[in-house]
Each structure stands twice: as C-alpha cells, then as structure tokens.
Subunit: 429 residues, 3 copies
C-alpha cells in the first residue's frame, strides 16, 4: 500500500517543471561532453580514491577522457552501494539507453560511445533541461564574472562571495576586485563601494541571490570603520594577524548583508565546511567539517537584517534541528536543501521530517542539485522526490490521515513554489 | 497490520487516567475563555509571525479576542503543515464540534461562537480534565506564589526557580523574595534561609517538584560561603562581574539541590534554552538554543546528590543520547518528556526509541504537555501516544516479537505509573 | 512482505562463519563458568543499579555466584525493556534450553543449574564458538601480556595501549613496561624503543591490531624530542602539569602510529569516552561521555599516516555522520562497529543507513561484539544482523529496487569479508 502510494506521489511531483536554486553549472558548457565529465564529478573520483585508487592515476596530466573513464570504471565496484553511484546509473539509463545495473569493464565502452553521440547532438543541454523539467538553473558566479554570452533567464546568476570574505588578502583577489569594479581598493569605504558596484552589475544581469559557504567557526558581527580600515591595511601588507583577518572577513560579510538589503537579494548561507582537511585528496575531494557549529553564531546577523531572507544550508545533520527551530522563529530564516554530506536518503528523510513538522510550509526550499553538469539534476531531484514521497506517505497520509491532494499541495510548495517566490524568478507554465 | 496494531495500542493507552507532570496552567483560570486563549498560544503566534504576520498586528494593545483570532486565521495557511496546527484542529474537533480539516476565514466564526458557548458553561475546566482523562496537573509556580484558592490535589504546585538562580540581581526579584519569606536577604546564609522558607511553604501546600530551565552554558558547582557572600554583595550593588553572576547562580542552584534533599523533592532540570535570541519576536516566541551542550556539565551535581531524583528534559534531540546514557548509568537521573523544539513526531520517535531500548523502564517519564490552557493536554498527549504506539508496534512487537500485553505494560509505566511514583502523587482509580 | 524479506536476509547472514574483531575475551577462560559470569556483565549490574539495586548488594566481597544471580534476578524487572536484557534471554534460550520470556525469581534456579551443567562440559568454549559460527575472536591484551598458553589463530591478540598513552605516569605502568621489555625507560627514545619491543612481541604472536580508547578532548599531534623528554621527565617525577601530561600522551600516541606503519598493523581508535564520570557506580558502570567531539581533532593524524588503516568507533551517534564523511574522504579511515552507548537498534539503524549510503562498501567493518564471555557474541551479532537485514530490506531492496542477491553481497562484505581483509586474518571455509 505504502509503496504504491509513494509511487503515485512521486509520479505527480515528477510532472512539475522546477527551478534549481543552486548549482555550479558553467553556462557556456552546461552539459557534459563525454562520460568523463559525468564520472569526473568529485563524488566518483573521491570515493574511488577513498576505496584505493591513487590520486595520480585519476589526475594524471593530459589524461584522455576515455582512458580516465576506463580507469575509474575499473575501480567502481567498492562504491556500488553508495547513493552517488545510483545517480550515475540513473543518468546512464535515463539519458543514454544503458540497460544494466552496474557499470563494468565489460559494458562501459558502449555507454561511452552512446553517450558521446547524444552529447554531441546540437541542443543537447536544452534537451537535458527539457527531460529534467527544469526551466531555470541558478549559477555560482565569481564576483568578477562578466555575465555575458548566455541567457540569464535560464541560467540565473548568483553572486558567490567566498573569495571576498575569506581570500581578500590574496593579491590576485584584490586585483580581480579592482579590475572588475575599476575602483582602487584601499580603505573600508573603497571596499564597500566596490562591493556595491558588484551588486549593481549582478542585479542588472538578473542575479537572484548572493551566496557564500562558511567555516564552522565563523560568527558574523558588525565591524566599525576604524577597525575595518586597520584590518584591511594589514591584509594589503600581507601579514594580517588572526584577529585582523577575522575583522576583515566580518567587515566584508556584514557589508554583503547590507548590500542584500539595498539590492533586495536573498543571501544564501552554506554553513559548516572546513576546506582542505585532506590536502592530498583529489580535486574537490579534500573538504570536511567539524559538526560542532551552532546557528547561535548568526544571532546578531538575523536580528540586524530583518528584511534580508537567509536561505540556509547546513553541512551536518546534527545542525538540522537548529535550522528547523531558527526558521520556525526568525521570519527571515529559510531552510534550503540538503547539502553535500547530508544529501543522502537517511539524512534527508530525518531532516525533512523535522522541517515539515515545524517550519511554515512557505519557508522551506526543498532541494537544489549543487550539480556541475546538467545531467545530474534529474537523478538528484529524483532521489529527493522519493524521500519527500516517503515522508509524506508515512508521516502525513498514514500517520496523520492527510489526503493525497493535501500532501501534494505541500510538496508543490516545497519543491517548486517557494523557490520561485523566495528568489523572485518566474515559474514556467 | 501495523496500522491496526498501532490503533489498538493507542486505544488502550487512551483509556488511562494520567497525571500531567509539567504545565504552565494558571489554576485560577485553567481553561480557555475564548478561542483567542487557544490561538494565542505562542506556537500559533510565533509560527504565523515567522510566516509573515507582523508582531504589531498580533500584539496590538487592547485587541479584541475575536479580532485577534480573525487576524491569526487569515494567516494560518502557511503553518497548516505543522504538528502544532494539528493540535488546534484536534481541539476544535474534539471539544467544539468542528468538522473541517482546516480553519479558514469562512469557518472560524462559527467555531469561535461554538467554543465560546462551551467555555462559558459552568465546570468547563473540570469537563476538559474529565474528557482528557487527567486526574492531576502540575503547575509552574513563581517562588512567591501564595498557593491559595485552588485544589492542590488537582493542580499540583511546583516551585519554579529560574528567577532565583538567574535574576536575583534584579531589585524586584530580591524584594519579592524578602516579601515572600519575611527575611532580609543579604548574605549567603540569608539566601539559604529564605530558600528553605520557600520550600517549607511549597511542600506544606503539596508541591511535588522543584523545577528550573537552564541555558546551554550553565554548569552547576558548589560555591564556598566566602565566594557566595562576595558574589551576592556584588549582585545587591547592581554591578556583578560575569564571574560573580555565575558564582551567585551556582550558589543558589546548589542550595536548591540541598533543599531538595531535605524536603525530598525531585528537581526537574530543563536544559538548553537561550532566552531572547530573537528579541523582536512575539511574546514567548523569542527563545532558541545552542545545541552544543553536554550532561557532563552536570557530572558533579549528579554525584553530589544521590538522593535527589533529577527528571531531565533536553531541548535538542542531539542531546537525547546523552540523556539516555546518563539515565542508564546514574540512579538519580530520569528521562522526562519531549521538550519544546524536540516535541514533534520525528524527534519524539527517534528519542523515544533510544530511551526505551536502554533506560530502565521505571526511569522514564514519558510525557508532559507544557500547556498554558487545559485544552492542549488532549491533542499533545494524543500525539505522544501515537508515537509511543508506533515505536512499540514497530520496535517491540514486530522487530522483537513482544506480545501486545507486554508492550502495553511498558507503555503504562512510561505514560502513567512512573509519573505518579517518581513525584509521589496519587494515581486515580 | 518486508518482515519475510528481513527474515530471509537474516537467515542467509546467519549461515556465515565470522571473525569478531573486538572483544575482551580472556583466552584462558573464554566462556562463562556459571550464570554469574553472564549476569555479571556490566550491562546487567549497572542497569540494575541504575534502577535501584545498591552497589554493595551486587559487589559484596566473597559473594557466592548463585547468590549473586539470585540478587540480580530479583531486580531485573525494571530492565526487561532494554535490548541488553534481550541478549540475556537469547543466551538462555539458545544455549541453555530456557523456554520463558523473562527471568524471574521462580525460574532462574533451573536455568542456573542447566547452564552450569552445560558450561562444565569439556570443550564448552569451542562449542559456543561453533554454534556462534565464529572462527576467530580478537582479544584486548595488556601491553605486557606474555601471549602464551592459547591458540593465537583462534584468539587473536590485539595490543591495547590506553595504559601507555594515558597512565604512564603511574609507577606500576612504567615498571610493567620496563619488565615487559627489559628496557630502562627514561627518555623519549627509551620509550620509543620499548614500544617497538612491544610491537615485535605482539606481531610475532599473530597480533592483528593496535587499539586504544580515547577521551573526547584528545587531539593527536607530533611532539618534538625535546618537549617529549621534558614531559616524560615530569611524569617520572610524578608531578606533570596538564600540558606535560598532554605532551607525553601525544608523544606516546604518535609513536604508536609510527610503529603501526613499521609493523603494518591497523590502529583501532575508539573515540569519545570519559572514564569514571560516576565513580560510585558498579564495576565498569562508571564511564560516560561528552558528545561534543569531532574527527577534525584527528585531521593531522590521518594526513600524517596514509599507510595506516584506522578502524574508528565513535561513542555517540551524533558523531556518526562525521565518521561516515571522514571514511568517505580519507582512504585510511574505516568505520568500525557500533560501540557501547550506540550499540542499540535505534542508533545502529540510523548510523548504519548513513554509512551504507556513502562509505565505500569495502571500508565498513560492520560489527564487533565487545564481549567479555563468548556466549554474548551470538545475541549481539544477531541484533546487528537483524538491523542490517532491516536496513537492506527497506533502504535497498524496497526503496532502491535492489535484488536480494545484491543486498546479500553487500552484507557479506560488511559482516565478514572486510574484517578478514582489513586485519589480514584468514576467513574460515
């Protein structure tokens, strides 16, 4: 009974056209060109590496895409249990006519060739979007991205600000900022003007969010002008103390929040990541976290910016209850997706159940794919929809006697309508 | 099969007459007088506010109850998913003949009128207790409550001590203490005598517990007399340092525990709340928490007072495993209910499962309602009973092959018998 | 459907012969001699004590085994709900022909006599191993264990190092080290040589792991020779500062990791226990924990020793997501069992689900019994197999459409093949 019910709910959801509110898509090359673009996703390289494949084998300079896929396939058996592997198989079956349950040394070459043929068709990326029922995809743009050469209605800019907040001490970053804004950046007020310039550029080009990922020990706070000037000066000298680095980061971060007020942009916070914990890991497979983080660190921020909506992602499931509670109390705090290490069914189901029961339905952005290539939206959203169907079937329809219609109405908010409303993007018909 | 089984278990539990071991009932006005008393519960005001309704609209001075309900109803659609909303509907349907699934601008006035008629019947509060099968309800009394004018067998006093431990520096609190005890409070020994006086007054009036809520950073410790005297002197001067405030709080807290020994009272600890994290929130909708708290902070307390029973509530589900483990090891630590932000089915089921599997059956106080108006006990206890029925059906009867009789015996301890035994109150026939 | 499926999976797993990779078995007396050896397990004494039985009653000097069992049985009713109690009943039914659901004052004496008869049969411990389908059992050996007088193929040595890392300041420990190695231990290089000697002795005697349990605040780091010498000198003087104690512990710990490289031994880390939190508790019933621990504390260690496999156990379920994530990223980090306070079905199912979905299948050591007497492996592994069958049935076969064969292949890795591969022990036919 419950399985059929879950299937019906899933099928209903699967008919909706959605917007994906956070990805790392390159709008100039949104879809994969070969299977190596699919299997080069860090989940496969890092899991294969974790299971024993050397980084050198994976990342050999000049490695041919076909050879790279062959090497990875030869080492995938140990990760067939993972949900990430199931995304790969779902892509292969949905888009490329693959019929098997596993990718093996015996069957991968046919898949490689079939998929290459598909990918080389004109309009492949549009076709992927169509089959994935996506009308829009948020990007993750460097602050100095010119935002030209693509349709910003379909590929929606998002101002990513990690570099500004955490890496302004690097000469290259400062120079990129100066070049992008044509402002010589010295004092705190220079930085503020430059950031304002970036916001103008981005909002003029249909940007719908400002976003940042944050380490577990970051705690936003306002910084007075004198302290900010002194901290920035230390940055430019190249030898900031830990206190000065923190003050500079806080100053830039707080300024971003102020600009979000002015330019009416939501500020996506992705809280909890420590970078390069395993520096010998493969590309993008080096970051981990300390789950001892609390949203109490953001108390002053949430109070200071009541007009800014903060869609928040947390890296660890143990922080999810705080996220649900803070969203239940603060009007400007919104739950946002299931991020990275928490993006597996066991955590999604637990975290989603907790949110649905206590956060207003209009304040939950159900899911984003975080993908680098368009092909991944389909299996990732499908995984989430299955979790959502399961939680609605078990916790609402069975446990609380809801009708299917009512459950589907809730799903529609969480999957589709909240995203378009909160970020102010047009939903497709 | 499992659903019918769960129903049978629920029906069995639902026939038992219980004592509610923690509420905020005013014994002089225990039931609601209008629907505004129901819908004014902070869950509805804070969730409606979180979903967009301004605090000013909700808390306009002199607002007519009917108008207040109308304003809230117009803004309830976004919170219909929450379990708190389901309590409201269950109240409306059980007590006031409401037939719909949702409260809407089109149907609330009839409910308002019907409920007002019921609530104005003589003996309404007794009727609510009778239908809710409650023989007794614990109160949360200010330390200077005269405890007169009500039946303390039915409305059982509980000495709430937050003011003494955390707000003694306020002149008003000190004056209330002096007035209540007729003791001029200066030195540590004065404070001890005054507290002893309060315990005498409360136990003479059938008080069955001392209780307090505690912030995440509190760690009890004994304070020597000299330090206590110095800290209290700083309090009276009105400028205690953080160290002095902490010492004073610890001194008062430790004294309370000593009085619990002497007067044989359990000491309810509700651990983990930060007050006024969102100071612009609605009344009682401003508190949140930092989930980074550990019961190791209470190690010295639990060891120092083996004869005091500590029924413990934790605010965050991530602390529940520690609570289960500490109750499994310390004879004087008892699990107590599912508090506030952890009082939703997803957390209850997980936390309850963990407790049932590893804490002695006699050391688990299943549930309290925490209600402000009597009408809420019924839907809140019903929610808990459904969770308990689900966990017993799935984890005991199905997974472990228990008989239904055996599962029901366990439920009876957790729901009823432990409460009466631990607090020493008479169970009704 | 799901229950029959779970049963089929369980039956399949139950046919496999396994190695138990962590126990506290005494190879000279591996099985129980009387029911008192079974019921003297700390779970029963500490839970009975927690429920009201005094430590003095349980631990009276010279207490006759039969009398001890009688006293415990008279106080077991309050713990019949616990999963630990279910182990006891499963032992009684499986090994000793017990037919009831509960152990009572009316039926325990027959069980006592029947079990005593069985236990006194020649070859009883081999018979227990045979019926439990165990081909090998890891021990927990003191560093100065001579490792003689038993079959190290069946009872596999493991070098336990808590004493060396945390108690070297005790004269007795230093003397034991000197006696075991015939090295006069003064400087850091003496300690290193002595530890090297221990590793030689252990590996020569078929030791397959080095192991240690660690408090939540421990963070490994390399210590330079000068600092180590100074810290050790303070230890020998008997008055190390907290800093010196920490430096000495870190030095010894780091040296152990270096020896694991040299001798190719996995290093089992059991992270998170605080010892003697309840010093008045019964024997082995005094330890608890602070769940605020993070694997980020082990970042430097994991990076410094890529060739050492670290099978890791965490005490609290809230740390399990970090464990899954660190195992997913670091090639040398492996998940290991479900330890102590997390060894109950609610936590196992949640933690196991999270691991299966994201950690390579070859990097998960499913379970160890942690037992003190051989009889406990059967019910503890059975509990785990039931959890594994449930998770595989629900999350893989139902939710993800896996075949039973495929699920069973995954179970075989997790239950059996990974243990033999990671520790390099022979699997039995």
């Amino acid at each position: 009974m419950s399985q059929e019910l879950r299937n019906r709910l899933f099928q209903e959801m699967n008919g909706w056209t959605l917007v994906d509110p956070h990805t790392h898509i390159n709008p100039h090359a949104p879809a994969a060109k070969t299977l190596a673009d699919i299997m080069g996703y860090h989940y496969y390289t890092e899991l294969a590496h974790s299971a024993g494949l050397s980084r050198e084998t994976i990342e050999e300079p000049g490695l041919d895409p076909r050879e790279k896929v062959g090497r990875l396939v030869a080492n995938l058996a140990p990760i067939e249990n993972t949900v990430q592997y199931s995304w790969l198989i779902e892509i292969a079956r949905t888009f490329f006519g693959f019929d098997d349950e596993r990718l093996t040394p015996g069957n991968w070459e046919a898949l490689y060739d079939n998929s290459a043929k598909q990918m080389s068709q004109p309009g492949w990326s549009d076709e992927v979007l169509r089959r994935s029922r996506l009308s829009g995809v948020f990007l993750t743009n460097d602050f100095d991205d010119p935002l030209t050469g693509f349709d910003t209605r379909r590929y929606i800019p998002c101002l990513r600000t990690d570099d500004l907040v955490f890496h302004l001490a690097k000469t290259a970053v400062r120079e990129r900022l100066q070049k992008a804004t044509n402002i010589s950046v010295g004092s705190a007020s220079d930085v503020r003007r430059a950031i304002g310039h970036l916001f103008q550029h981005f909002t003029k080009n249909n940007a719908r969010a400002c976003a940042i990922s944050l380490p577990p020990d970051f705690a936003p706070a306002p910084i007075d002008a004198t302290t900010a000037d002194r901290a920035l000066a230390a940055l430019w000298r190249g030898n900031p103390s830990a206190d000065e680095q923190r003050a500079a980061s806080r100053f830039v971060f707080w300024t971003l929040a102020e600009m979000c007020v002015e330019h009416r942009l939501p500020f996506d916070l992705m809280i909890g990541v420590n970078r390069a914990v395993y520096p010998s890991g493969v590309y993008q497979g080096q970051d981990l976290y300390d789950s001892r983080v609390s949203l109490i660190q953001y108390r002053e921020l949430f109070n200071a910016f009541p007009s800014v909506t903060f869609p928040i992602s947390v890296l660890a499931s143990v922080t999810n209850q705080e996220l649900a509670s803070y969203s239940w109390i603060f009007p400007n705090v919104v739950t946002n997706g299931h991020w990275w290490y928490s993006n597996t069914p066991t955590f999604i189901e637990h975290d989603l159940g907790a949110r649905l029961e206590a956060v207003p339905a209009t304040k939950q952005i159900g899911y984003y794919s975080d993908m680098y290539k368009l092909e991944f939206a389909l299996p990732k959203f499908a995984m989430y929809k299955r979790c959502l169907a399961k939680v609605l079937a078990e916790r609402y329809i069975i446990d609380r006697g809801w009708s299917e219609t009512r459950a589907i109405d809730l799903a529609r908010l969480v999957l589709r309508d909240n995203t378009t409303a909160i970020f102010g993007v047009a939903a497709e018909g």
